[in-house]
Symmetry: C2
Subunit: 192 residues, 2 copies
């Protein structure tokens, strides 16, 4: 399924990333990874200590990509409100859910400090970035002074993560968009 | 693990509910259900057609309980803002996540219209109830006229569902509370 020029470890990592997104950690067997990567059991154990080790490499790569995409939008042009809006409206494969957030529902990921760490760090860094933008917006008079950057950042992130839940429950991305519009209507600067 | 006075189907349903909450559908084997219920394979197939059938009964019972708890708070005393606040601050076992919302990350639940239906219906009914309360609040001048009940309701529900994600990622309920406080600070009626 992958280019032959891709190295075996890369094929293993890419297969694991896809399977973690589709089926989660608990639902992903080493056999399924090998099958999708077109690799043998020996090559997996040659490059990785086992499923947890391979999953860690896969989660780290996904986390890096997600963080880069989020920061790309959050550090883009526009006012603080516009940058948060761009983050919320960023194109997403909504029905697939968040490849990082979904791991929090995986008991074996949450039970492992090592596997949970990149998930926690990624969400934390995005939250910190948004919190800074909210504080900028307060200084510029765009957001009300009584708002707390950390709190609003958590609300923004939660709306996105919970939006995936609503969308997947209803089988349509519309519920995600509705929640985002609601948050934007609460955040929007208004002449008072 | 259960009272001997509980019927076998009830023990099977209760075991399934717990395992679905802890490990999800994909991570729950019929063997684990039987073990926890202290029941034999024959008794499971006597009462249920198989794992999907038993899971459906379990999900329906959990959905009913969740809906009753949510409606109890939303239909309680107080102003529209206070009722939404009570719903957001309702005591939750935050680190366990939502027993209904977490099912949306389960590929086999989402792939089955029958298993997904009670998940979708439950979230939808809570959302409708909140949307009605927002409209009430608008009529009473407590919420701004430009807010849309359906949108705000989706944001409220998403903040809760995403709050579980943030809490489980960080291993602490604090992140859930922070997101809730952020939303409440945006919703709070203010003299302008």
């Amino acid at each position: 399924m992958y280019s032959e020029r891709m190295s075996t470890p890369d094929r293993l990592i890419e297969s694991t990333r896809e399977l973690l997104w589709e089926r989660g950690y608990v639902g992903t067997s080493p056999k399924a990874i090998l099958q999708r990567a077109g690799a043998g059991q020996g090559s997996m154990y040659h490059h990785f200590k086992g499923k947890p080790d391979l999953a860690l490499a896969a989660i780290r790569r996904t986390a890096e990509e997600l963080l880069a995409a989020a920061e790309g939008v959050l550090d883009g042009p526009g006012t603080p409100y516009e940058r948060i809006e761009a983050y919320l409206r960023r194109e997403r494969d909504v029905l697939r859910g968040c490849p990082i957030g979904r791991l929090t529902m995986d008991p074996d990921v949450i039970a492992s400090d090592e596997l949970r760490a990149p998930v926690d760090e990624t969400l934390d860094r995005i939250r910190e970035r948004i919190a800074g933008i909210v504080e900028e917006g307060k200084e510029q008079g765009q957001f009300a002074t009584w708002l707390d950057g950390e709190e609003i950042a958590a609300t923004v992130l939660a709306t996105v993560q919970g939006g995936y839940v609503l969308a997947r429950a209803s089988g349509s991305p519309a519920a995600f968009d509705t929640g985002v519009r609601g948050l934007l209507s609460l955040l929007a600067p208004r002449a008072s």
